[in-house]
Symmetry: D3
Subunit: 69 residues, 6 copies
């Protein structure tokens, strides 16, 4: 991953919970802006994710929907 | 869509470009934090998206990846 | 979410099962037409999903594949 | 693809429009229930999709979101 | 599923682990090339997946990202 | 992107075609194994993709489906 990637939002791990196969990870991008990811538990462990750690949330543009709220 | 939805990032349309089938839309969430979506052109038109308009970027948690940068 | 959203299929919750991180939810759209979603358990709980409840299944067009069967 | 696949909705092509890279295809599942897919133009051509043709819309459960409308 | 589908990578199940809702399945495409899928446990059971069994990993082109490593 | 990422398939760009918003890129992973991605045209240009160039195809495990063919 380099600066070349669009939609890479830098944040801090605020919460993480582990299931058997998956893990849910919430990053705080800036105060009041959070994004939650469900990734495999193995990836969460390999990345050594834990609260307070810095990480990036990555999303492909084709997977982002737009609504008017 | 209600407050019930997680991963709904509110922002302002900063840029939009139209193809025949799809449209690329970039929202500024806060200064320095942008997210780009590729949606169908028809949806972009129905939503009346244009620069400066307020909108939400929505992403399912299972489609967000985490890396360490 | 408004009528603006395409690919919003209205149905009734027919089955729901909970894991630690995720939940599997099956909606019956019309008799004989069902669609299954895997969402986070937290979202399932916030939405108060339970059998018989009315809900929408939403899918981005870019995530729908077409085959001939 | 066999009967083994969940989330395979059978329908009839109601509309198709072609871009240079992608194609947008709308299937009518039953009267009043439609689902739109954006697939590559090459796939649309290989499948020989055209209005009136029978086809399946396939979606992974992890890519279906649930809301209350 | 027929030969019509692009991005169908044939492989052999190398590892499978089951959660309550999901299952993680790793296919070896060729020696040194593996791909991991998270599918529902129900689908894994219906397909009768187990180590050594032949299967296909399918991905929509719009869900594949490209980077330079 | 580091070795930490699963489902990063290294290959060589075999074909690329550009639309107005999107680009279709086919990587050859090993002879006989190809994977096609649809990414934004802007990303394709930023990465400087062209035939013969080395690149990685990345897919989230939750977006890989398994079938028996």
């Amino acid at each position: 991953m380099q600066v070349l990637t669009r939609n890479a939002l830098k944040g801090t791990v605020k919460h993480i919970s582990l299931g058997r196969v998956n893990a849910e990870v919430t990053l705080e991008i800036v105060p009041g802006v959070e994004i939650t990811a469900v990734i495999t538990r193995i990836t969460a462990e390999r990345l050594g994710l834990e609260e307070g750690k810095s990480a990036y949330a990555i999303v492909k543009p084709s997977e982002v929907e737009i609504t008017l709220g």
